[in-house]
Structure formats: C-alpha cells, structure tokens
C-alpha cells in the first residue's frame, strides 16, 4: 500500500512533497491500516477514499498552492520513492529491451496470455452485468418473491397463489408492502400497430413494493382500473418517445386503457420483455370461489427488522386461516393444510437460474487463464535456466536476491502489461459475439458490454497473471544453489525438472477438467436432441397475425375468418397441411385448470386433475405430425359448431384411467360448459424438451355461445417441405386478407427447438471453446517442457547413441517421460472433475455427473493429444548426432 500512496503523492508540487510528503504518506497508510482493523469493506473504502483525496488535493495544490514555505528535511521521502521507482523503472526498461531481442518468445507469451485474458474478460463482462451489479431498484436486497407449495399434493412443486392469498397476505406485518402480478402474452393494438406482447396485471402494491416512479406520468391510484403504465421500450419503439402518449387510450389485453405513465428503462419485471403493466384491484368481497391457484406471483418488501424466515412464518400462519375466512370446498381446506409458503430474495428468483451456468463459465475461463499462466511460467523458467550463469555472475558481483527476483518479475510484468492491453481488444470483440450467442431470456443481457469494471478486471487479472507466471522463475533466480552454478556445474537436473513437470501435470489436470465438463454438456445436448417432442420438428412454419377487420366481433366470425385463411394457405404450392393452435409448443406455455369428468360427478372441481387448455382447429394435428391415437382430430365442422374436445394421451389417462374417453363429457374451472371427447392424440412437450409432457385438452375455435371465446391471433402451423422459404407468400396472403395486420412470430419449428435449448447450447459452446483452448495450451506446455528436456540432455543422448542405443529406444525414453507427466495430470484431472462436475447441475440432461463413458473418453482424448505433443521432441531426440552433440556441449 505504501508504494501505491507514494506514487499518488508524486502528483503533488515538489516543494510541498519535500516538506510534507513523508508525513502525508505515513498518515495515509496509518489511516488505511486502522480502517482495515474494522473489516475489509471499511478498509477498502478507506483506501479508495484516501487515494481520491490525495489525488484531488494534489491537483488542487498545483492549481492553488497553499504551501509557500521552503522545503526542509523532506529528502528521505523523495529519495526513498525515487530509488524504489527508479529501480523498477530500470528493471522494466531492461526487461523491455531483452524482450525485444527475443521476439518469438515475447510473441508466444503475450499471445497466450492475451487470448486467455481476453476470453476471461469477455465472460467476466457477463458475470459483472448480469450477476454482480445490484438490481436497479432502491433497497432491492429487501425485496422478496413469494409463491406457494403444497408438498404431498398433486399441485406443481411451486405455484403462484390465488387471489384470496393476496388479500390475506396484505395483513402481514413482516412485509411493509406487497404486490401481486400475473404476466401473459396478449394482443396490444395502438393506432395501426398490432402485436402480441407480454403484459402483466399488477395490484397497486406492486409499484409501492419496488419504490419506483415512472419517468413520465404517474403511478396508478388504488382503484385505477382503466389506466396502464407502459415500458420504456414500448414507449420508444411504438410511440417514438412522444410524451403526448399520456392520456391516450389503446387496446390492451382486456380492452381499452388510458396510458398514465412510462416506467424507467431499467424497470423490467416480472419479465424482461413486459411491455405494459395493467393496474388491477380486488377485495375480499370479490372472492366467491377460493382456490383458483396459479393466478398471482407476489413480490413484497421486507419490513424493518424482518427477514425471509420471519416472513415465511407469518405467511404460513396467515394462510392457515384462509378456509375460515373464505370458505371453499373440503379439497381446498386439504390443500391449505398442505400449503407451505416459499419466500426467497427477489434477486435469487431473477438471477438464480442463470447464475449457475455463468459461474461455471467463469470457472472454466479462469482455468484456461491458469493454464496459460502455467505455460508462460514454463517458458520463463526455461528462459531463465538458459541465463543461469549470467545470474550467478550478477549474484557474485553483489546483486542481491531481491534485485534478481525483481529483474525476473519485471519481464513478466512487461509481458502481462502487453497481454492485458491486447486482451482489452479481444474482449471488446468477444463480448458482442458472446451476446449474440447468449440465450434470449438472460436477464440484463442488454447491459453486457466492455464496461469500466470489466476493463479494470482484465488489467487486475493481467497483474495477477504477471505474478503467477513470474513467481516461479523469480524464486529460481533467488535460489540459494545459484552460486554453485557459476562455474558451470549443471546442478541437479532432477530437482529442477520436478517443478516444471508438476506445472505441466497441473495444466493437464485443469484441461481435463474442462474436457470432462464440455463432454458432459455435449452428451446432454445430444440426449436432449434425441427426445421425442411428440411432434415433427422439420418442415413446419408457424406464425401469427392479428387482423382487426370490423366484422370480426365474436367466436363464429373469427372462426370463419381463420377457416378461410387456412384454406388460402393450404392452396399454396407445396403445402401439405395447415392448422391453428392458441399456444404453439415451445413458444408459449399453457394455462392449466382442474378438470372434472362427467362420470365422476360429485367430486369437487378443484381436486380434479389439472390439464393444460388450448384451442386448435383444422389439420393442426396432421400439420404438426401429432399422432391421432383414438377417434379423430378436429374437422372443419368442429370449428364452427363447437362442443367437441380432443385430449392428449396423458390427459385421457388422468381423466379416464383404463377406459376409452370417446363420447365422454368433461368440463373445467375455466370453461364450465360440458364438452364431448371426440379423439385422443399423442402427448407433446409444450414448454421445453426437458420438462415432462403436459396433459392437454384441445378445445375448438368456438364455444357454446358466440361470445364464449374468440381466437383473435392464434398461431398458424403450416406443414410444407418449403417451410423455411414460405415467408413471402404467407405475407402476401395476410396482406390480402387483413391489409393492416402485421405478421409476427414467424418461426420454423426447428428454430423453436434450437431456442428452447439455447441456455444449454450457449454454455456448451463456450465451454467447448474453453476446453479446446485448454487442450491446446496444455499440449503446448507439454511440448515445451519435453523439447527443453531433449535440448538439455542432448549431450547425454548423444553419448547413449554413440554407445549403441537405437533411435527407437531414445524416442521411447522421451515419450515415457511425457507419458509419466500426462498420467499424473490425467489422474489428478479425473479426481478434480469428479468433484467439480456437480456444478453443472441443472444443465445436465440424461447423463450422470460421473458418467464413466464421458470421463473415460475425455481422459483418452487428453492422453492421445498429449502423446502427440511428445512425438516431435522424441523425434528430435532420436535424430541427435552424437558427434555434433558432444562438440556443441
């Protein structure tokens, strides 16, 4: 710390420095030392504060001198700093000159470190923006997220609560404010623009809990039912950031609402893509039928002195009293008995799912950096061995150990300095590339950039790399046996080799850890790709459009519109089948409701099995390649008459176990009219390929009444071998049918499959790159060490060959030595990988963390590549000319 402050004090005017420099330095150091006694946080704050103060006051002193006196007695400070700095500057300059004379060595070390530092910096840019920066809301660490769980019931592991919970929880004293939200994708219509965008209903407490104010307009009042707050993104993209948007009315999910405010750019909750928050309110009196679970997520702010556990206790007690206050069926009372509230910091809820993969990547690139440091350290060691006599001479003529160590470290500092600078350039290029590869839902990805903190991190990592890679050679330079070497004694080769061998074995181990990790992810990826989603993933195009023609007023008019449109698409050349579906699999998820079958009669509805509900028509099942197992799929009449329903296999098994569901009737909590089952189809994976299949009931386009429901913008599914090139023709038809309706969410099913796996593929790809780098660097390290060994033992090899050793034997000798190092490294690597592979956790699919095949195959690959690296040195050894070698020695 002393040299650091001494440097800063050099900014002061000379006269001031001479008189007060030493005192000021002592003062600054003492101040920071005593701050560190109170803890690291206080200490570092003091260092930063004092540094800024010394710097700022120094500049002020230069502008407005306060010291007019004559210097006296301050020489010791100047001298001390100057000697210290002078020595370092001298060493650095000398290191610069020597490195310039060895361009090959310099290029190799700088490039190795720069590459590793650049990649590390790139990933750190992600970690920093996504994980390390605090959430952008005031007191965000006091925000908690609340959902429900009911262990032992058939409800999902965690599920959003029903509205009576919200009313009941409002009495909690451990939460100072509490808001409920429910987000979904729905049509938004403004002027001539229509799109399905994410919207969220929110209760008034939602904004209170976040303590955020709109950048424009106002927050809703408690009974504001027809106002709406829009996102900053929507405001800029749809309305050109025009302030006059306030007060205008547009069609949101539930009809016209008046824009009352624009939220700040960094307010993106519950999802990053929320475009509008629709204020919504209800009271205890509005709740006639408790137990409609799955409706609301809750966010709350901890009251002073309360913690997560206290909130859990209080909410648990409050929830117990729900049946007493709101009534409900016996099944409801049973669910409440099993209910356990789940409360966790909002930060964990938002960042939890991505923190694992990102830290895995950070760990991976750190390993690559360590391997790179190992290589550079190896190169430095080899280089310093070459200069051992030179150093021995310097020691003999009086250079201290410190001087020699400094000289060695100076080279590492110069190399790392150059590498750090180059790494900034690499990170600058790598970060946008990583961002393009990154998964869609990664929170705060828009903030990922080469920030100041990333730049500082890269430079600090470069400094650490300088220490790491310069430390071993510097110790060698200071070794006590150095003096013995000055007369040319070769010292004990074995002892010196040990350090280098350990270095390479360590590198091999680290590289193998990365290889195992990427091997496990590759296998997961393969397993996931071979999951049968229940539908075909090729030759399918899906898209949506939202017509707004004035004659479209109810279920039947919409249904007729879509049936006509489907006929048009069907007539396109090369189209085999066309269908529509409310929620395209892998694109949107389903709403779930408890179902009742007619035969089971009296059983209360909320205890019935929960099935996903969606709407489909025409040749949807044929277009998707979903097999019809029993009965039939939808026919055009179903879309216009209604009353029929198609079940997925899982749904049929749940509702009618062991019997045929055809002709049976069912209803659910959302759609209360009875519907007759006309067919059973294969199950599909709705959310992603990892999740189990969702049991689904497919309803037709029209309900029992014209106003029951209307499909305003369902997903169209077209099966055609020309799926990826149909876009323009589809667009032309849409323009004809509904001139003002935009076409959106145009995807091929292949794209949706890729998108559903993007988190895995991103981590996998990055890890594979890291592992590839590690393998390359590790084998270069091995190659370097063996080459050096061969060069060092040229004389010995020459003698052996002169005595009749065959070339093959010499080759084997070198390979054997390389193999020993490799084996040690592989053994160590397997042990570390076994301990570390758990970190991949949720990313793995269909493969155990200790998958023996992956471990074996990667160990073999590592060994194979390693042995190849030993080949060149071994060949060189076998080509040693005995005469030459002895002459040259």
């Amino acid at each position: 710390m002393r040299p650091f402050f001494a440097l800063l004090i050099l900014t002061w005017p000379r006269a001031f420095r001479a008189r007060f420099g030493a005192e000021m330095l002592g003062h600054a150091v003492e101040e920071c030392d005593s701050a560190f006694d109170e803890g690291w946080g206080t200490g570092w704050r003091a260092v930063l504060g004092t540094a800024l103060d010394v710097l700022g006051a120094g500049i002020a002193e230069r502008l407005h001198p306060s010291w007019s006196g004559i210097s006296g007695g301050g020489v010791d400070f100047e001298m001390g700093v100057r000697t210290m700095m002078g020595r370092w500057m001298g060493d650095l300059a000398h290191a610069g000159r020597t490195l310039r004379r060895a361009p090959g060595f310099t290029a190799a070390t700088v490039a190795t470190l720069a590459l590793a530092l650049g990649v590390t910096g790139g990933i750190f840019g992600f970690v920093d923006a996504v994980l390390l920066r605090p959430l952008p809301w005031p007191g965000a660490d006091r925000l908690v997220y609340v959902v429900a769980s009911a262990p032992g019931s058939d409800l999902p592991e965690e599920f959003p609560v029903s509205r009576e919970f919200v009313v009941q929880y409002e009495e909690a004293t451990t939460l100072s404010s509490l808001g409920a939200f429910n987000d979904f994708t729905s049509t938004l219509r403004a002027d001539d623009r229509v799109e399905r965008l994410r919207q969220s209903v929110v209760t008034a407490g939602f904004f209170t809990a976040f303590e955020v104010a709109p950048v424009l307009g106002r927050l809703p009042t408690p009974d504001d039912e027809r106002g709406v707050l829009i996102s900053h993104a929507l405001w800029t993209t749809w309305f050109g950031a025009d302030p006059s948007v306030l007060g205008r009315s547009y069609e949101f999910a539930d009809g016209p609402r008046e824009v009352i405010g624009v939220m700040p750019e960094d307010f993106r909750f519950p999802r990053a893509d929320v475009a509008a928050w629709l204020p919504f309110s209800f009271t205890a009196e509005d709740i006639a039928n408790p137990g409609r679970f799955g409706e609301f997520g809750i966010v709350g702010r901890l009251a002073d002195g309360a913690d997560v556990a206290a909130v859990e206790r209080e909410l648990s007690a409050l929830a117990r009293r729900l049946p007493e206050r709101f009534g409900g069926s016996p099944a409801y009372a049973r669910t409440i008995e099993q209910h356990v509230p789940v409360v966790r910091p909002l930060r964990d809820e938002i960042l939890g799912p991505v923190s694992g993969p990102l830290w895995v990547l950070m760990g991976a690139v750190t390993l690559v950096l360590l391997i790179a440091c190992g290589n550079v350290a190896g190169l430095f060691t080899v280089r310093s061995e070459g200069r051992i006599r030179d150093m021995a001479v310097r020691r003999a003529v009086g250079a201290g150990r410190g001087d020699l160590m400094r000289a060695q470290l100076a080279e590492a500092v110069v190399v790392a300095g150059l590498a750090g600078t180059a790494a900034l350039g690499i990170a600058h290029l790598a970060i946008p590339a990583f961002v393009r590869m990154a998964p869609d839902g990664l929170p705060r990805i828009e903030d990922v950039a080469l920030s100041w903190s990333t730049a500082v991190f890269v430079l600090l990592a470069a400094a650490a790399a300088a220490l790491l890679s310069g430390f071993v050679p510097a110790l060698r330079a200071a070794a006590p046996d150095l003096a013995r070497l000055r007369d040319g004694a070769r010292g004990s080769t074995r002892e010196r080799r040990w350090g280098r061998d350990a270095l390479v074995a360590g590198q091999t181990a680290l590289a193998l850890v990365l290889l195992v990790g990427s091997g496990l992810l590759l296998r997961s990826f393969h397993e996931l790709r071979s999951v049968d989603p229940g539908f075909d993933t090729e030759d399918i195009l899906t898209f949506q459009f939202a017509p707004s023609e004035s004659h479209l007023v109810d279920g039947p008019t919409w249904a007729r519109f879509h049936m006509d449109a489907m006929e048009r698409f069907r007539a396109l050349p090369g189209v085999e089948a066309v269908g529509i579906i409310e929620n395209v699999p892998l694109d949107e998820s389903l709403r779930q409701f408890p179902f009742t079958a007619e035969s089971t009669g009296a059983v209360a509805e909320e205890s019935g099995p929960r099935l996903g509900v969606t709407f489909a028509a025409h040749d949807y099942f044929a277009a998707m390649g979903i097999g019809v197992l029993e009965g039939r799929g939808f026919i055009p009449d179903d879309a216009l008459v209604g009353g029929s329903v198609v079940l997925s296999r899982g749904a049929a098994d749940l509702l009618f176990p062991g019997e045929s569901p055809l002709g049976r009737r069912l209803r659910n909590q959302g759609i209360e009219a009875w519907h007759t089952v006309v067919g059973v189809v294969e199950d599909v994976r709705q959310d992603d390929l990892r999740s189990p299949v969702t049991p689904v009931a497919y309803y037709p386009l029209v309900g029992p009444e014209p106003r029951s429901w209307a499909m305003t913008s369902p997903g169209y599914v077209i099966r055609s071998s020309r799926a990826s090139s149909l876009g323009p023709e589809v667009r032309a038809i849409v323009r004809e049918l509904a001139p003002s309706a935009p076409l959106y969410r145009v995807y091929t099913m292949e794209y949706l499959v890729d998108r559903s796996m993007v988190q895995l593929s991103f981590t996998m790809l990055t890890l594979v790159i890291a592992a590839g780098l590690a393998l390359l660097l590790g084998s270069i390290g091995l190659y370097g060490v063996l080459s050096y060994m061969v060069a060092e033992r040229t004389q010995e090899i020459g003698v052996r060959m002169a005595l009749g050793a065959e070339a093959g034997r010499v080759r084997r000798m070198v390979v054997r030595q390389g193999a020993r190092i490799l084996a040690l490294g592989i053994l160590g690597g397997l042990l570390v990988a076994a301990a570390a592979s758990r970190a991949l956790g949720a990313l793995l699919f269909g493969v155990a963390p200790f998958d023996p095949w992956t471990f074996g195959a990667t160990a073999l690959a590592m060994g194979g590549v390693g042995l190849m690296a030993t080949y060149l040195p071994a060949r060189r050894a076998s080509l040693v000319d005995p005469i030459q070698s002895m002459r040259g020695g």
Binding site: A22, G26, D53, V54, A57, A60, H64, P65, S68
Partner: protein
C-alpha cells in the same frame, strides 16, 4: 495564497487550530481531535488535512515543534502548535462565531 486573519477561517481551519490549541499534536492526532470535536462532521483525509496544515503554517498561524514526548518508532513525527498569531486568529473566529450563534438563537427564539 496564505490566509490572513482578516479573511476569516474555513470550518476545517478553525477546527485544526482548535485541535492544536491545547498543546502540540502530530498530524494523525490532529485528525482524530478534529473528528471528535466536530462530532464526526469533519474527518479530513491525508491530502486535505496536510493542505490545511500547510496553509496555516504558511500564514504563520501554526508552527512546528520538536516537543515529542513519545518517540514513534519508524516515522519521525512532527508536531504542530499554535503560534501567538494563531491564538489571536482562533479567538477572533470564536468571537465571530459566538456573535453569529447568538444572533441565530435570538431570531429563532423570537419566532418559535
């Protein structure tokens, strides 16, 4: 630019003079005294503190003394004490502050 007594003293200057009023102190002790006597409002860090000391020394309000009673290992510490001029400047400032404070209390008292 040396501060003269007529210019009035900054708050920090006043507190530094106040600190060395009772006897010679070294830099770090001055800092501690300033922090304690200003009830934590002022806690100058190294750069700011030594600029003020330099300014007061240039103006002749504090002087340097060797009166070290507790030799400090390592760093030779220097002690600062109030000069006669400094004592006058401090007294002037104290009276000025007293007048200003009395005025404030009087006005506040007049308008409860």
């Amino acid at each position: 630019m040396p501060t003269s007594a007529q210019d009035g003293l900054s708050n920090l200057e006043y507190h530094v003079l106040l600190a060395v009023c009772q006897g010679p102190l070294h830099g770090y002790a001055i800092r501690d005294a300033v922090e304690a006597e200003s009830a934590g409002a002022l806690a100058p860090r190294a750069g700011t503190l030594y600029r003020v000391i330099a300014r007061l020394a240039s103006a002749g309000l504090v002087g340097e003394t060797d009166g070290s009673s507790e030799p400090h290992p390592g760093l030779a510490r220097r002690y600062y004490e109030l000069t006669a001029e400094g004592r006058m400047a401090l007294a002037d400032e104290a009276r000025r502050l007293e007048g200003a404070a009395a005025l404030a209390l009087q006005r506040l008292g007049a308008r409860p």
